[in-house]
Symmetry: C2
């Protein structure tokens, strides 16, 4: 059962009798049904009644109803209304567009708009590279989706993907100082997506592809990289790979192993899994074994698509076949980017000594983290309620900061590997429960940006 | 010869001997070659020298060179550098994207991004209209161009159009509180433009088409209006028409005529001219006579395209043919949206008593405003250095403010006419030299928005 989290945060406004026990009665009522109180504010005080806002985290809608009922069951308490704080925060969207130039006088208008702006247009027409100097292209990234794989929710379409892309844009600014703009495309045709991004590209210094379903995402990225003179980065692939490899670098330091001696099992060969494998290979691991819903990937398996065929040809030097459990026997590293609850302690017990377990399926990992911690030397998840959260926010803001600063036209594996090492090296002394820095560590994005610039 | 304007503003940093006459010597040197000094700042003071920034407006590059040479010719003056203030203002572009939500803690991230954002996505997927409530769609307009008719400069393409679209977006925010985003399309194919805008539309509450060449702009607008459930507004057409009709309303009040008694000559039948004619017709003018480079438009003229054929069929009740000069004989109103220097005093003298002359070609009007003022009762231009500047900034911010507030799905002529009357009525007592409010009049956009909402 998921822990009550801030993603489902409510504030109940209640009238209570003015008594010394009022606050206690309310928190007890919330706690009784499993809610977690996060704040309590008295908003009105009268002689015999108080109006109190009690904020709490819940697991879901059912628990919100239980909390409301539990509050109403307290004698003399009246619940005025229950607000969903996540919805409140989203009212009107999460981004604004602001002018960097003052428009106070006619002279201001004459410079920022007509007639003065004409000379800027002419300068760019004469020298197109000036667009990176004289327009927002210099610092602006398109966050592009077709809404086909929104979070773990599936194919919700363009409009419903907007809140994620807006959030991503907000993170770009917060952590990388990058101006990012949500571009939600009302088409899921590969050719139309490619052509549309190409048509839009003049206004942007980079393209961040997001939540586009595999295998479409591979072709879209590959084709755009050849068509455009700005970097194209599919965050679900490369952002994840960069952070995973950074975390792995530090996890190996903790257990005192080197990658060339390790067998790495990658479970899930979609966007993230494929990118992790492609970025692992240049670092010469002992072996990589890829596993998907049909078991271990090997060249003789029927029905491999282009992506799986490439993976089969570049992993699994022993040409083994079998199940995920088979793959784990004697393995040093498990990296799961697949589905919840695939393995348990029995499988982990068969791994090599001091195994490293990254169970990154969201929101529910491949293995219960509490179980994994009993068997593995290092455990990482995608969740914020356990140590070692693998979060793409560690990568993409700094990666694009570096790309934009370098006026980069392409992204290379060398840049991604440098970014990955930079994230790891922010942690001076990695330990079992501290292999990646906090997403709020202000050193991360500058270090990543510097690494990307240095590799460009 | 154009007047030195702030569109070409420079700042020269010069070293001068510390003397009482230094400032005077510099301003004289600038004025000697026709520059207009706008500011003088001492940035460093030493015992025997001063470093001074002298800012001035110029007519163009040649005059900048003359000003520089004139400054250098002053004894003991050294010019360190000359900066172009318009270019300085454009460095890095004119817009930023900012987050409206704080991202200080893990809880903030959990609500604005994963996992909390998932519920917002699901809500929109279940009820697409919620996108107007829970995303930036509510307040966001795409400023779309193909770069085919950038200002009066012609077909400069997508990248070179960015500074204009960024400026437009800045004006949208400054005057209408609208978040606007530049969308510069690297295609000039009508079908691709239409399809691309359709694909992008989910993220926007309205589409402002800009600087797209006629006749392509007519088909793009018409088709998008049928395809999309958000309003589509081609500013070069309707923005201009709204402001022109507002100005005309007040000009008629000044001369004491009613539109139904007037013959109106519209010179130029591109985007602006066509839209002016289409918006004039519901107000039942005495007659409209349209004129283009081939003379008066009438149904028997060979080679009329679809737009001109429509105009021919809906104007010129007398079926006259001839030149612009022929059209002006006895006309009450001249509205020029065409080309510089087409007429002079001789033609204006043939108009009806108290003629109204709107000479809106930019930057150089159809008739010299100084000449026009000798013959016409009311003169308006597109220039800021004469009274009665016809500026689209009076219309588009308020129009979209009203459309977004009303959650409008279409734009109607009734809305445009209401907006036009609202602009006029901000001027309580119109006079010969005050028929439109200042673009900085804070009453304009709210009045226009209210008029549009009221007509929706």
């Amino acid at each position: 059962m998921p822990v009550p989290g801030p993603g489902y945060a409510i504030t109940a406004r209640v009238e209570v009798p003015a008594s010394a026990s009022a606050a206690g009665d309310l928190t007890v009522a919330v706690g009784r049904v499993g809610g977690v109180v996060t704040a309590l504010d008295v908003v009105e005080g009268h002689t015999d009644t108080l109006v109190v806002d009690i904020s709490c985290n819940a697991r879901g809608e059912e628990q919100v109803r239980e909390i409301t009922a539990s509050l109403e069951a307290v004698p003399d308490v009246r619940v005025r209304k229950v607000s969903d704080r996540t919805f409140l925060l989203h009212l009107g969207g999460k981004l604004t567009v602001e002018s960097k130039v003052a428009l106070r006088t006619r002279d201001d208008l004459s410079r920022a708009y007509t007639p003065g702006v004409a000379r800027i247009c002419q300068a760019i027409a004469a020298n197109p590279d000036d667009a990176r100097r004289l327009t927002i292209k210099r610092n602006t990234v398109a966050v592009v989706t077709d809404g086909s794989a929104v979070l773990g929710l599936g194919n919700l379409g363009a409009a419903a993907a907007m809140p994620v892309m807006e959030g991503k844009a907000a993170l770009f600014k917060r952590f990388g100082g990058v101006d990012a703009w949500p571009v939600c495309l009302d088409t899921q045709d590969t050719e139309e997506i490619i052509r549309t991004v190409q048509i839009l590209a003049p206004g942007y210094g980079g393209i961040n592809l997001e939540d586009i379903a595999a295998p479409r995402c591979f072709e879209i990225e590959a084709r755009l990289r050849t068509l455009l003179d700005i970097p194209v980065f599919h965050d679900d692939q490369h952002g994840t790979a960069v952070v995973v490899l950074g975390a792995l670098r530090n996890a190996l330091r903790v257990v005192g192993k080197t990658l060339s001696d390790c067998r790495v099992v990658v479970c899930g060969v979609g966007a993230a899994g494929s990118a992790i494998i492609r970025l692992l290979r240049p670092q010469a691991p002992g072996d990589i074994v890829a596993v998907d819903v049909d078991g271990i990937v090997h060249p003789d398996r029927p029905g491999l698509d282009a992506n799986l065929a490439w993976v089969a040809g570049h992993t699994n030097t022993g040409r083994t076949a079998g199940t995920l459990a088979d793959a784990l026997v004697g393995a040093d590293v498990f990296i799961g980017v697949s589905a919840p609850d695939l393995i348990g302690g029995a499988e982990l017990a068969t791994m090599a000594p001091d195994p490293i377990v990254f169970a990154l399926a969201n929101p529910d990992p491949e293995v219960d983290p509490a179980v994994a911690l009993q068997y593995a030397a290092v455990v990482a998840t995608g969740r914020s309620d356990y140590p070692n959260q693998i979060n793409n926010v560690l990568a993409f803001p700094g990666v694009f900061r570096g790309l934009l600063d370098a006026h980069a036209r392409d992204i290379t594996d060398a840049m991604l590997l440098a970014a990955s090492a930079a994230i790891a090296d922010v942690v001076a002394e990695p330990t079992r429960s501290f292999i990646v820095p906090s997403v709020f560590d202000p050193a991360v994005a500058p270090a990543v940006a510097e690494a990307v610039r240095g590799a460009s």
